[in-house]
Each structure stands twice: as C-alpha cells, then as structure tokens.
Symmetry: C2
Subunit: 431 residues, 2 copies
Amino acid sequence: MTSRAQTYKGMKDYLPREMRLRQYIMKTLTEVAERYGFEPMQTPIVEYESTLAGKLGDDEKLIYRLQYGDDRLALRYDQTVSLARVVGQYPNDITFPFRRYAFGPSYRGERQQRGRFREFYQFDLDIVGVDSRVADAEVVAVISESLARLGFTNYRILLNHREVLSGLARVAGVPEEQASQVYRAIDKFDKIGVEGVHSELSKGGIGEDAAAPIVEFITLEGEVQAVLGAMRERLGADERALQAVLDLGAVVQLLQDLGVPEEAYAVAPRLARGLSYYTGVVFEAVIEQPPIGSLLGGGRYDRLIGSFAGREVPTVGTAFGIERLQIVMTELGLAPEESTAPRAFVTIFGAELQGDALRLAAELRAAGIPTVAALQPDKLGKQLKEADAKGVRYALVVGPDELTRGEVVVKDLRSGEQRSVARAAVAEALK
Amino acid sequence: MTSRAQTYKGMKDYLPREMRLRQYIMKTLTEVAERYGFEPMQTPIVEYESTLAGKLGDDEKLIYRLQYGDDRLALRYDQTVSLARVVGQYPNDITFPFRRYAFGPSYRGERQQRGRFREFYQFDLDIVGVDSRVADAEVVAVISESLARLGFTNYRILLNHREVLSGLARVAGVPEEQASQVYRAIDKFDKIGVEGVHSELSKGGIGEDAAAPIVEFITLEGEVQAVLGAMRERLGADERALQAVLDLGAVVQLLQDLGVPEEAYAVAPRLARGLSYYTGVVFEAVIEQPPIGSLLGGGRYDRLIGSFAGREVPTVGTAFGIERLQIVMTELGLAPEESTAPRAFVTIFGAELQGDALRLAAELRAAGIPTVAALQPDKLGKQLKEADAKGVRYALVVGPDELTRGEVVVKDLRSGEQRSVARAAVAEALK
C-alpha cells in the first residue's frame, strides 16, 4: 500500500542543507545567551487548553486544540504563556532574577503567506522577576551580540518606552478613550509613512492641534542624546512620560557600559510594538537590506508572567524567530560556508579491501574528522559521485598499491587535485 | 485573574539543572553521529492523520488527533513514519545511502508509569536506501561510541537476526502458524527466564520435542565466534537461517574493522525485539546496573521506509530515548560535573560603581567566560547568595578601593577563599 506523502500545509520539512543553517543559528544564539548567564529551560508543546485561555484575545481562534480522553488540550501558541505557568508552578525551584532561554516550536493557524508558518521555532530569552534597567539593557546587548555573531553588519536596534507614547497622547491633549487610536496609527508608520499616520489620526477624529505635535514627535531621529533631549523637552509637562525618557537614557548609558557599539542602537520615538502587552522599554531590531523591516522585537512586560503566580512578576524579554533569521541570512549570503558536512569520504576499492577502508575511516573519526565510509565496493566513479553529492571535500582511496606502500590517495573534490599521503599523516592533511 | 498552573499529565517541564544534562546528551549524540557522516533533518510534529493511518496496529489508539478547519491531523507517534514520508516526498532531493539523524519529541497517550512519558524526545539515526552489512555495523558502532562517550562502561550491545529465530522455529519443526508463539515466548525471556519460556511454549501447544531445542538454543552464550559456530551447527539445515548467521558473522567482523571494542557486543540468540517490524539484523544495548534492562534497540527494517515511495527502501536504524538516558545517567552519577552554569558573578558594590561592574562583566564575556551580572546594587551578602543559588563558582567585587588600585576581589564560592587580582588578569584567573 502506497500512502500519499504530504507535509501538512503551513509546516515545513528541513533537509540537511537548511537544517545545518538552523543548527548554526541555534548554536550561536545559545552561546551568546549562556555567555550572559541565561539558563536553559524546556516545557511541553502540549498544554491544558485552560492554560492558554484568556491570554490571546482575538488570536484565540489561531490555537490548535485537541482532546485526549477527557483532557482538553492545546498546542502552545508561544513560549511566554508556558514561562508564566512555570513561574507559578515551581515557586520553590526558581530563584529570581531568573534568566532563562528556551528553544522550540509553537503553533498558530495562520493564513498561509511567504515566510509565515503554522509551526515556527523561536529562541526566547527573558529576565524574570526584577524591574531593572540593567535587565532591559542586558536583553538588548544579547540581541546586538547575537546579530553581530550571526554576521549581520547593518542591523540597528530601535528603542522606545511604552509611557513615551501614552505621555505623547496626553501632552497632545488627546482624550484617554482616543489614545489607542494614536498608538494604532503610529504602529503603522513603517507601512504608511508620516503622511499616512497624519491622515489616520484625522480619520480617527483627532484634531490638527493634537495631530501636528504627534507627527512631529514621531519623526524625531538622529544622535541618541539629541533625540532624548528633544523628547524630554516635548514631554516635560507629563511626569510619567518624563520618567520614561529618563529610563531610556539610563538604558542607553548601560548599553555603553556593556560594550554595545554605538551604531547598533537608536532611540526611535515612533516605535510602538503592540502597546497593550508591554509596560516599559520596548525595542526592535531592523535591517535596511533586504527591506524586510523588523528582524525581531521585545521589551518589558510586567503583567503577563505573574498571571499564574498571582502577583506581579516584572519581566523583560525577546524572541528570535528562527525561520525569519534563516530566510534573511540566506538572502544576505550569511550562511557560513564552513558547514558541518563530513570532511572525508573513504571509498571501498574492492571487497577484499573493505576492512582496510573501514579501519582508515575509524582512525580518522578517532582523530576528530567527520568521515563517511562507502557501504559497498561499487565502481570508484560512483563512489566519488556519492561523496560529491554529500558535499564532502576529500575522497580517500586505499588500493592494493597504496596498501603495500602504507599510503592513501587523497582527492580534493573541489579542485580535482589528488596526491598520495602516508597513512599516519592523513588525518593531519585533512584538517 | 490567577490561572491554575499545571503541566498536562504525563508531560514534563525541564528546569535548568535537568535541561543541562539533556543538552549534554543531545550534544554528545550529535557529535558522534556527525563524526560518522550522519546529516541532520527535521520534520513537523504535526502530520496529516492519514500519514500515520495503518502504520501502528493496536497502538493507533495512542495517537493524539486534532482537527483544524477541515484538516484532520495527528501529533507524530515517532519520527520513523515521518522519515518514510520524507523519502516518498522528495525523490529528487535525497541521495542514497541517506544517513540522517533527527532529534525531537513524539507523542503517545501511554498509561502513566515511572519513566514513561506522553511527550518523549528521541534522537533517531538511520541509514536509508542500502541493504548492507557495513550499514548495520555502522549503526552499532555509533551506538557503542555514543554510550562510551556518555560515560557508560558496563554496556553491551546484543546482536541477533530476525531470520535466526524464524529458522529456529522451522528447524525445531514448529508449524508456521505457531511460529509467532515461539517469538512471543522468547521475547519474554528477560522477564520470565528460561523456565518461563519453556512453560509458555508448552501452554502454546508446542510439544517437548520442539520446545527443548528452542530453549537450548536461546540460552547459547559466550565468546562470539563460539556462539556463531553453535548457531551454524543447529541451524545448518535451514538455508535462510544459515545466511542470517553468516550475516551476523560479517557484522561482527566489520565491528572489529570499525574499532568497536570486543567487550562492547555479543551475539545473543535470544534477542527478539518485536520481530514483525524488523527484517534483518537486530540489536539492543543493555546494562547490568541499574537493572533496567534495555537502554535502546534497533535493527534493519526494509519494508516500512518505502511505504510512501512505493518501493522497498532498505533501512537500518536506532533511536536513543533521551528521558531514559537522562534517568539512568542520573542514577549512575554520569551527569558531567562540568556543567554550563555561569562561571562568574559580577556584584554591584554600589549605584555609582554599577558601570564599572558591567564593564568588567563585558570584558569577561568577551574573553569567553559565561558571566552573570547583578541587576541592582543590593547588599553584598544578598548578591553572593544569588550567585551561589545559580551554581556560579566565582563572585567578583569591584569596590572603591579595588577600583583605585585597578584590582578585583575574586571570591571562590566553593572554598570560600578570596583574593585580589589585577583587573587585566581576572579572565585568566577564572579559566
């Protein structure tokens, strides 16, 4: 019986070539996170449906639900709700501040479109349990160092604060019930530009007196201290907003202390990022080429993580989307050439020389060289073709003459050159 | 609103301490597999329900099913069916022999019992597309090297062949329709012993004339060549069984060529391992202490992987169960002491010295030392306690005096000793 072979739509298989890039991304992110003292954690992909209930608003319809026996379950929608559950579930096993990273898939029944998947992998990192500007800056520093280590050179991390935008609405005289229209309009800035925001505000019934200073404010840009100064000036009448600008200034100072290069970040008064979720500093990493906009974002969200613990648990965090990084890095040619493809392919010259070939393979592996061995004494040409198809660099041949002389023929499959090497020196020659 | 924090029963959260051991296992298995030229692959955790249909027999009731819109879906039960789907789905993207490894969770609605989980992680490896004894031996070699690298010293890999047991039934004169009773009885050997097998055979209506040679055969053990010789002698009348013994002999020779230590394997005529699935060589790694029996198993199964490709695709493979390894290694004390817990904790002496502390942390990270920084200028005792709770080895203090002298106080949290070190020499001192 032949079954139909088909991946579920919106989900993807990763064959070795793509998988190696994903592993490289994952390894780089892990190394940087561990360098900063973040610790690994993992939660099940299946949660009780009730764990997710009431946390996602309109997005609840995107949840994959399942039932097993009497248990009503769901595939996790992100790793953040599970983190909140863990914080509530193990009050005695976690010491705060808790820096944790977590890597794994989440599930959303999204409409299918390029670069958006129904199974997507995220590398989350959060600092849980402390309301601290050092924590805010540390997360930004990890993002910056991670992107740099992945090979990005033209990224920039935009910084803003949730209270800057609400203060802006207050200072501009927008009534509180209309404030969310201001945020929504500003959130579209990247797509519709300054004129677009202006007309969105008008359509939302926000008069020109209020709209003009808002539009002027969100186009502030330039040198960090100058932008901060301009923000202070315009928001000076609003105490909470002023404190938010001071907080941003503190984060900027801490980024310097942490050695984050100046060109890696900017203060961007227009950055909104779904304000209902965040409570403090927000950030977003962008690149100009290719013009895909945001690479990832994050910020301080002090209310969600305590929802199971029954108290406020201040948290700042971010999540790297692996598929997005993979796509952008491929487009930019940032995938490392030095892949983990095996380095050597040991051919089998003939049935009677099979043992010698396998012993050579074992020696190379013991010397730390990833080595594929042929599985049968096929024609040499066929074996070399197999080696090439696997992306292996060197093919090795032990024929009867080589065996007698204690040598091995090493063929560089990239250049086509070949030479005889003393058997004891082969491992060294391949390194 | 406070939600109830509860993991779905049968599934587990992994906090940092356990997670580090899992990462170590995973890293070790990956390194060995890559050393042998296995390549990484990943498939979605969600499959169309039809992909799993008809592949699991009685176990179909353990499948987690879900529906989204009109799509009838299932969580994968193992990674093998997904491998078969991939082989059928990408005929032009895979070159055979295809050595692939895959790491990830699968799902089964098992009754809850110790060490058995409804979400479990496996590290699968298979050599797909070639019926070759070298492939069989390579998988056994990878298992042996992996267990050795994980620190196991008392493991042994038992080898047998599917046709040995069917030949045994034929040679003993058991009618074909009763042969499966023979396999089932032998499969229980580890639990019920030789007497138990004997009485199972009798109960199954197998006469003493047949039962006696069967019981004698499955208790054969000892030096590999002697056991092979005894098997040849007893099965000499059955051509297929004789070929199976020759195949086992070839695998044993190849294990030698591949450098697998002699004490790491044995031929075990009693090894059955669910014979309906396997078609050739089968193997199982066992340890004597703790008495948990089988660590993992595998073998050649030439029929399943071709079920989507519409042709036979010979395959040999195995799967490491991560939870089982984790539990056994913890019991045996094999978890490496050298964990990835951060090495240094930089305290903040006072608000005005925060920048200096963070700059020191940045220097240490740049030197490759995983370093946690305090997030606020708390009392020093409280900061040291936090460092200790995180399992950090060294706490660093930069007070005003140290700052003037260009020094850092390094406190070893294990021994309690502390000394002043020149700032430029701190990274070196912590290594």
